[in-house]
């Protein structure tokens, strides 16, 4: 099966400024691709390039197996949902949804049928006669989705569609988009700066920074095996702990030495033999530093740490300490006995540890 979207060697310049550099992405039908990165990383520009709203400087872009590099947006068989919803303010909800069909000369009976179908699907039937100005943020969001759904395109494009909603509604709509994707089996490209949205929605994530793709992979790959320090730090909340450490290899595994604040060391052992330089940065997720009682795997190695701050978060309690000169967060039991200023015995699980080179920031294992 040919990929539904295939971008090869795409470059985008504004004058002499390179906005996107050597982008290569492809997704299969039914994939949910999320482009994620900090603001200004070029993710929205890339989406606009896919939509055909921005011309690309070089490279090729295929949608559904056809070369769409120089095709105008209306002929790309795509639908797009915008951050500001971009509903036509003078048209009723129904007219907003059917505008595209009207422009393309679809007969009125079909328009009406599709409108009713989509209105039912999104539960916006009572709103059809209203104007966008009379709708709440969540309702506008639904209408914008309706306008995209009614096209039944090869590819759906979403440009930060949830960022104008309040926190609660955002979570609701997130679930709704996910279930929509599952029910339709549609192919989607979704731009967000919110890494949680990226993790929950995607079947495939592209992490971008400065117009360059940092890593492409499934949410699990991105989370467990970040390709570099940027991805490690960007994905996950609280962020992955990135601790400078020294390694020493001998026959039965790798010893990792981490400096405590008082100068003493924690020595951990990675059972696998690794070919690592002496200075590394190790990446450990907060959930892999836990109370000994809670630690799930037997791989946990215990060490005493001086806790600086305790942050209860309801389901968990986060403990912040200082290791290797960095703040390190551990995810503890909600009813943990740890107190600030006291020493706590913690269990380090190195099963999913990442090693990064301090100079290049690249993953070593």
């Amino acid at each position: 099966m040919s990929p539904i979207l295939e971008i090869s060697n795409l470059y985008k310049n504004y004058g002499s400024t390179e906005i996107l550099k050597d982008i290569n992405v492809s997704i299969n039908a039914g994939d949910f691709l999320v482009l994620v990165g900090p603001s200004g990383c070029g993710k929205s520009t890339l989406l606009n390039c896919i939509a055909g709203l921005e011309p690309i400087t070089s490279g090729t872009l295929n949608i559904g197996g056809q070369d769409m590099t120089n095709v105008s947006p209306k002929d790309r068989d795509i639908a797009m949902v915008f951050q500001s919803y971009a509903l036509y303010p003078t048209m009723s909800v129904a007219k907003n949804i059917t505008f595209g069909m009207k422009v393309r000369g679809v007969d009125p009976a079909t328009q009406e049928r599709k409108l009713q179908q989509v209105a039912q699907q999104l539960q916006i039937e009572p709103l059809l006669k209203r104007r966008p100005g009379q709708l709440s943020g969540g309702q506008r969001q639904r209408v914008a989705m309706g306008r995209a759904l009614v096209r039944d395109p090869k590819l759906f494009l979403f440009d930060e569609p949830l960022s104008n909603l309040d926190a609660k509604l955002r979570v609701e709509m997130r679930t709704e988009i996910k279930s929509l994707h599952q029910n339709l089996g549609a192919s989607m490209v979704y731009v967000t700066h919110d890494q949680i949205e990226a993790m929950t929605l995607a079947t495939k994530i592209v992490v971008m920074k400065g117009g360059v793709i940092q890593q492409v992979g499934s949410p699990a790959e991105i989370y467990n095996r970040p390709a570099n320090l940027f991805v490690a730090d960007f994905m996950g909340s609280p962020a992955m702990n990135l601790i400078p450490a020294k390694t020493r290899s001998n026959g039965d595994g790798t010893h990792i030495e981490i400096a405590r604040r008082d100068g003493s060391q924690i020595v951990l052992k990675d059972r696998r033999n690794r070919d690592l330089p002496e200075d590394v940065i190790i990446g450990v997720r907060p959930e892999d530093i836990a109370d000994p009682a809670r630690a799930s795997s037997s791989a946990g190695q215990e060490a005493d740490c001086l806790i600086d701050v305790i942050e209860p978060a309801g389901a968990d309690t986060y403990a912040v300490m200082q290791l290797g000169g960095k703040h390190v967060t551990a995810r503890l039991h909600a009813e943990t006995t740890a107190t600030p200023g006291a020493t706590q015995r913690l269990s380090f699980d190195l099963g999913k540890v990442s090693y990064f080179a301090p100079d290049t920031g690249l993953r070593l294992n």
Binding site: N48, A51, L53, S72, P73, K74, I78, A79, M80, F82, Q83, S84, A86, L87, Y88, P89, T90, M91, F99, G100, V103, R104, K129, R130, R131, G133, Q134, R147
Partner: protein
């Protein structure tokens, strides 16, 4: 801080002070209003008096006997030079000039504003600045080149020629109005319409123009007032038979021989001014309605 130290007596005094201040303000404003209304009052009363009464009576007195004779004369038989048909034919000239010129300049301005604000192209800002510059060029500067241009186009001294002049001269302002209005409309709206398959003109007609009622009204009021009240272009680029009402009014007032018919002059002046007044009254209402339409209508 001072409030804390005020005694009740001082507070009462400050209340009285405020009331006095307020009422003096009202009185002052009232005096100003009367001052500005005075000329209109004199014009209306004079136009309703007979010549006999004007000669003998007081300038600000109400007419003893109301007569519409002066209005009839001004409309259909007052002399503008050798022709004695009143302002009627010239009034229609003005209508024939103003309506197409206002419509065209507004439409073109809307289109220009739409292109400059929403279809950013290389040099868009430069072109906009140049058009803006055009707003500030005095009329007199363009008179001679425009006369030559009209001659070359073969429309010198004709009504289409005057329409052309007014459209060109109005474009700077109308473009400015529409550009500033459209620049506040998010670019995503255009993008959404492009994805929906709409082209340049479709987006303009179906999405931008329906949004523009308030700014259309503002532009129409502005352009109509400018074009209807214009005298310089009217007197420079017209000939007998195509002169607008402003030029005719001047001729009526200046070309009377013998007794000066003040009542006819006043009536003619009011007739010449009525349409702009009408546009303000009618369009002003739509202006308010246009602003609130989206929020109230179902």
């Amino acid at each position: 801080m001072t409030d804390l130290t005020l005694t009740p007596v001082q507070t009462r005094q400050s209340h009285i002070g405020k009331a006095v201040l307020r009422w003096s303000l009202y009185i002052l404003l009232g005096v100003f209003a009367l001052f500005y209304l005075m000329p209109l009052f004199v014009m209306v009363t004079t136009s309703l008096k007979s010549l006999e009464e004007i000669r003998t009576g007081d300038l600000v007195a109400l007419p003893r006997e109301v007569t519409f004779e002066a209005w009839r004369t001004a409309w259909s038989s007052a002399c503008t030079g050798i022709q004695c048909e009143g302002v009627r034919p010239f009034f229609w000239n003005s209508v024939l000039i103003a309506i197409p010129a206002v419509t065209l300049s507004t439409l073109l301005g809307a289109m220009n504003g739409y292109v400059i604000a929403q279809w950013r192209f290389r040099g868009a800002n430069l072109i906009f600045s140049l058009m803006l510059f055009g707003c500030f060029i005095p009329f007199q500067v363009v008179l001679l080149p425009m006369a030559r241009l009209l001659g070359m186009m073969g429309i010198a001294g004709t009504i289409p020629g005057l329409i052309f002049v007014h459209v060109i001269y109005g474009l700077g302002f109308t473009t400015l109005f529409f550009r500033n209005y459209y620049v506040s409309i998010p670019a995503e709206l255009t993008k959404a319409a492009k994805v929906d398959g709409a082209g340049f003109f479709r987006i303009f007609w179906s999405i931008f123009l329906p949004l523009s009622l308030p700014i259309i009204v503002v532009t129409v009021i502005w352009q109509f007032t400018q074009i209807w009240n214009d005298f310089l272009f009217g007197v420079s680029f017209s000939q007998a038979g195509t002169q607008p009402v402003t030029v005719a009014l001047n001729n009526i007032v200046n070309s009377t021989t013998g007794v000066k018919e003040y009542n006819v002059d006043m009536a003619a002046a009011i007739i010449a001014a009525l349409p702009t007044l009408l546009v303000y009254v009618v369009a002003g209402k739509y202006f308010i309605r246009g602003l609130t339409a989206g929020s109230v209508k179902g």
